[in-house]
């Protein structure tokens, strides 16, 4: 029933993010030269740039879903934002279970909505006749989801500390943009998470190292968030 409650609380945010994820498809269908169309062929560099942009664009999905999910999880976690918090905390459930349920639900919603990204690329940018296979698109989705988990858990942690939803969302956008800019620095190229997200489309393999680092970072951030939730007073 905690999953059901979580779904009731986050479904509007999830629907909004679904719209956010689908929104560019018709827009870019109109303005982007499609390989299947008689328009000029898209170069690899152009495609990479466009795909990189979309990796950044779709990285907002986990931020928002973690943010909104955990914000409503404030029903369990934080004081003041949701009056029913004390009712939830009076139920015979561990804080670990409350936390794990909500975080898992948000992550599943994120992964589900991120599935739109490869579909989008297939429809708009790459086209059916290109050299990117369905398995590459699947790998892209996996890489996108796993790499996004670091952002997701960063947002989970931030949302526990920052009460104002707008403030922490702005903070997260700032971090992602800063990270995006820093990743342009050649020295930091090996840890460019956005490049790792899109790499299956070009290398036809999963970026295991980057995915491992992302999962490691996500685990550390998730553990830190859980520790805060378990020891916090309400």
């Amino acid at each position: 029933m905690l999953w059901y409650k979580g779904w009731l609380e986050t479904r509007l945010h999830a629907a909004f993010m679904l719209g956010f994820a689908v929104f560019p498809i018709p827009l870019f269908t109109l303005v982007t030269p499609h390989p299947a169309n008689p328009a000029p062929q898209v170069s690899v560099a152009q495609a990479e740039s466009a795909i990189g942009f979309f990796a950044l664009y779709y990285s907002i999905v986990p931020l928002f879903l973690a943010g909104s999910g955990i914000k409503t999880q404030s029903a369990q976690i934080r004081k003041g934002l949701h009056g029913s918090m004390y009712f939830t905390l009076s139920l015979p459930i561990s804080r670990f279970r409350l936390f794990a349920t909500r975080v898992s639900l948000g992550m599943l919603e994120t992964i589900g909505i991120l599935a739109i990204a490869p579909c989008f690329l297939q429809i708009v940018i790459i086209g059916p006749e290109d050299h990117v296979s369905p398995s590459d698109l699947f790998a892209f989705w996996v890489a996108l989801s796993v790499c996004a988990s670091a952002f997701y858990f960063l947002e989970v942690l931030l949302s526990i500390f920052l009460d104002e939803p707008l403030r922490h969302m702005i903070g997260m956008f700032g971090i992602v943009l800063l990270y995006g800019l820093l990743s342009k620095v050649p020295l930091l190229a090996p840890v460019n998470i956005f490049r790792a997200m899109i790499s299956p489309l070009f290398t036809h393999s999963l970026p295991w190292a980057s995915m491992g680092i992302s999962l490691g970072v996500a685990a550390v951030l998730g553990w830190a968030a859980l520790r805060v939730v378990q020891t916090r007073e309400y």
Binding site: M1, L8, A75, S84, Y86, F87, L89, P92, I93, E233
Partner: protein, 297 residues
């Protein structure tokens, strides 16, 4: 096993250096209706949060059903056996009455469907109405239904009648007495509505500045506490050094008003030894006891 459902010893808690509890001792016997009284900010809600394991004491020990209230795993067992009605009566606004009953039921294997049905009817709660559309009184009743239906051995109610109209207050109080009588449930409720506490409680604790100033059975308190009116022949020149048990003395001309908490007979004898003194004794209300202690504190 202890006879106390709730036991607290020397509880202290501060928030940013501001003391909220300053060594609270509390004992709530099984099956009692226990009124926890205090002014706003006296430490009632902090105590309840400590008992619920939502706060950790700076020092001291709180036990519910003999289990440590602050322990994470013991806390789950404690919460399985108690029902909690929060001060603000907030529930999930997006759920209907039926949905929140189903949701809550899923956490309590010993859920008592017959109590759920009885109180659903008795409290006149519309199953398909959204919680956001319920009045505060209806939300109070719904919270009470949720707390009772899982077979709670202890109900912790934080200002259960706060913000309710007199009819709703009467209704809730009557149900609390009925629940205690029929189910043997211990009821621990905080309030600053003294008449309500006097109406249903059999034991009380008055808390002020984070510590218990009066605690005991309401009947005993009413027997022990007496107001004495002493009228002397001429105005007293020097203050009288009254014996033990005098809580408060107020002198107005030849009349001396005394609130005594014990040794009443000895105090009466002392008063009669004053020149041309007459002594009258009056019973006291809980309100008088409360006001005397809270004011003098």
């Amino acid at each position: 096993m202890s006879d106390w459902v709730i036991e607290a010893r020397g509880l202290r808690k501060s928030f940013k250096g501001q003391p909220a509890l300053t060594g609270l001792n509390l004992e709530v016997p099984a099956g009692s209706i226990f009124g926890f009284l205090g002014r706003n900010g006296a430490g009632k809600t902090t105590t309840i949060r400590l008992l619920m394991g939502l706060l950790k004491p700076d020092c001291g020990d709180a036990r519910v059903f003999g289990l440590p209230a602050g322990d994470l795993s013991a806390g789950i067992e404690i919460r399985r056996r108690l029902g909690f009605v929060t001060e603000d009566k907030e529930l999930y606004p997006y759920m209907t009455v039926k949905q929140i009953i189903r949701f809550t039921r899923s956490f309590f294997p010993k859920w008592r469907a017959e109590l759920e049905q009885r109180y659903l009817k008795l409290f006149d709660l519309p199953p398909n109405r959204k919680i956001s559309d319920l009045s505060k009184g209806m939300r109070s009743r719904l919270m009470l239904l949720l707390a009772i239906s899982h077979g709670a051995e202890l109900l912790i109610l934080d200002e259960p009648t706060e913000g309710l109209d007199p009819v709703a207050v009467e209704d809730i109080l009557r149900q609390l007495v009925a629940i205690s009588a029929s189910e043997g449930t211990t009821i621990f409720f905080s309030s600053h509505q003294l008449e309500e506490v006097e109406q249903i409680a059999d034991r009380v604790c008055i808390i002020d500045h984070g510590a218990a100033v009066v605690t005991g059975s309401l009947d005993d308190l009413k027997t022990q506490y007496q107001r004495l009116r002493v009228v002397v022949g001429e105005e007293l020149k020097a203050p009288v050094l009254w014996g033990e048990g005098v809580e408060h003395v107020r002198q107005d001309g030849r009349t001396v008003d005394i609130l005594a908490s014990r040794n009443v007979e000895a105090i009466i004898n002392q008063a009669r030894s004053l020149p041309a003194a007459s002594v009258e004794r009056f019973p006291v209300t809980l309100k008088e006891i409360f006001l005397e202690h809270v004011r003098s504190n």
